[in-house]
Amino acid sequence: MAILLIAEHNNKELRPFTLNAATAASQIDADVHAVIIGQNSTEAAKQLSELPVVKKVLSVEGAHYENFTAENFAPVIVKLAENYSHIICSANTFGKNLMPRIAAHLDTSQVSDIIKVISPDTFLRPIYAGNAFATIKSNDAKKCVTIRPTSFDPCESTGGSAAIEKIDASEEFSNTKFIKREEIKSDRPELGTARIVVSGGRGMQSGDNFKLITEIADKLGAAIGASRAAVDAGYISNDHQVGQTGKVVVPDLYIAVGISGAIQHLAGMKESKVIVAINKDGEAPIFSVADYGLEADLFEALPQFMEELNKLNTIQK
């Protein structure tokens, strides 16, 4: 039986992690179908049909799908499920909100946040904030699986030409009403996909001081991250949080500034290729995962870092 991928999008275009989920789906079985549920989402559906790994696109349109409410999305997928062995989407806030609702309707035990497909029924997933890896075999007839997007490469985004089939909308769930979404717009790369991330922690001492980080991030073309402590303290908004309950990032370079390295923060960044830690406490746990540690006062080190970057002839983007 084929695999059903749930596309994540903003009605205009696909959201990038759909490509990572498509890769994971194609590792389970080559016959991947993708469903896109939205309102005026034809352009995004077309993008989906161009992914070479997607063999067929199912498109559902309805005003009640405009804001991706799980209560409206789940019945559509449940209705389609009989034709599929696996249902796949990303383990970001979209997929985390939606997939368990589908799994419960199908009486299936979901496998969350996998980092590797071992076989069509066996997966590797981190537990305890990534301090252990569990190999899990699902014995359910239908498998509901969310994938950790940063553990799978994005698939090719052009070259395919899957057929787009329109399917009927399900009834509206009237007990949940969308009010508003406050998206933080930024010209910087997205935290989840950036090549470089510069993160600040409690050591930044104020929201104002984050401009020291912003400056360097702009110079490097980096995204800005933060520890939970910095977000809790109100220095920066929640969409920047890296960690067990925030975002998981795997950039080429992760620079942790004034972050002590609590277990729950390490869970979100310790797979980064190169880790730099700048902290004045030489005993801080962040140094245990850092490739390059600098024991220094960040208020002296960051301006110097900026100076040194300015001296370089070229900086990779």
Binding site: P100, N139, D239, Y292
Partner: protein, 249 residues
Amino acid sequence: MKILVAVKRVIDYNVQIRVKEDGTGVVTENVKMSTNPPDDNAIEEAVKIKEAGKATEVVAVTVGEEKAQETVRKALAVGADRGIHVKVDGILEPLAVSKILQKIVDKEKPDLVFMGKQAIDDDCNQTGQMLSALLNWPQATFASKIDVKENKLEVTREIDEGLETIEINVPAIVTCDLRLNEPRYASLPNIMKAKKKPIEEIAASDLGVDVSPRLEQLKVEEPPKRKAGIKVANVAELVQKLKNEAKVI
């Protein structure tokens, strides 16, 4: 309004866990256990709503072995009125827990069910959403702000892109984020008082729910270790290493 709050006993968030040598799991013997952190936020929010006069009763429920009752007792010490302990041996999958909670909801008829958004042991992030599916109730996951209105809630949710606000009609499920509130500590007199509050014990087997596992945990292993890094003497050396050795800038 009546609020049911589900709490789970997990290895304390400050403990560096150890994987068992035989690969069957992680060491839980002689390890500090606590309430799952966002479940503390769920209890706190329910108690605050009651203190604001908008709820009449807060009931804490846990599903687990004998010692899981500690988490209910702690909830009672910070303001829950009574507790329910659904006794079961071993570890249940979120699907099984949500089926048990559905039975408790049928019995207790709460208007709201709160719980943490994710347990920090299995990191599944499923139970609340599954329970709301089974009940066909609205769900507000990852809540960082809750406004109680007449027969509905306005909830701000933390999502990857920022914040989202939704309105859900009661009865409803809310899964709580760590930023929802600052959980209080139990005072000694309240800990003493909590010992007198009732906890009803129910055997999971009496609920007529199929809790048999659907997943097999074949192996638990340590993640690959990072090789030890170096300390650099100053910023100039750091930038030079990043440029010429790691070649990342």
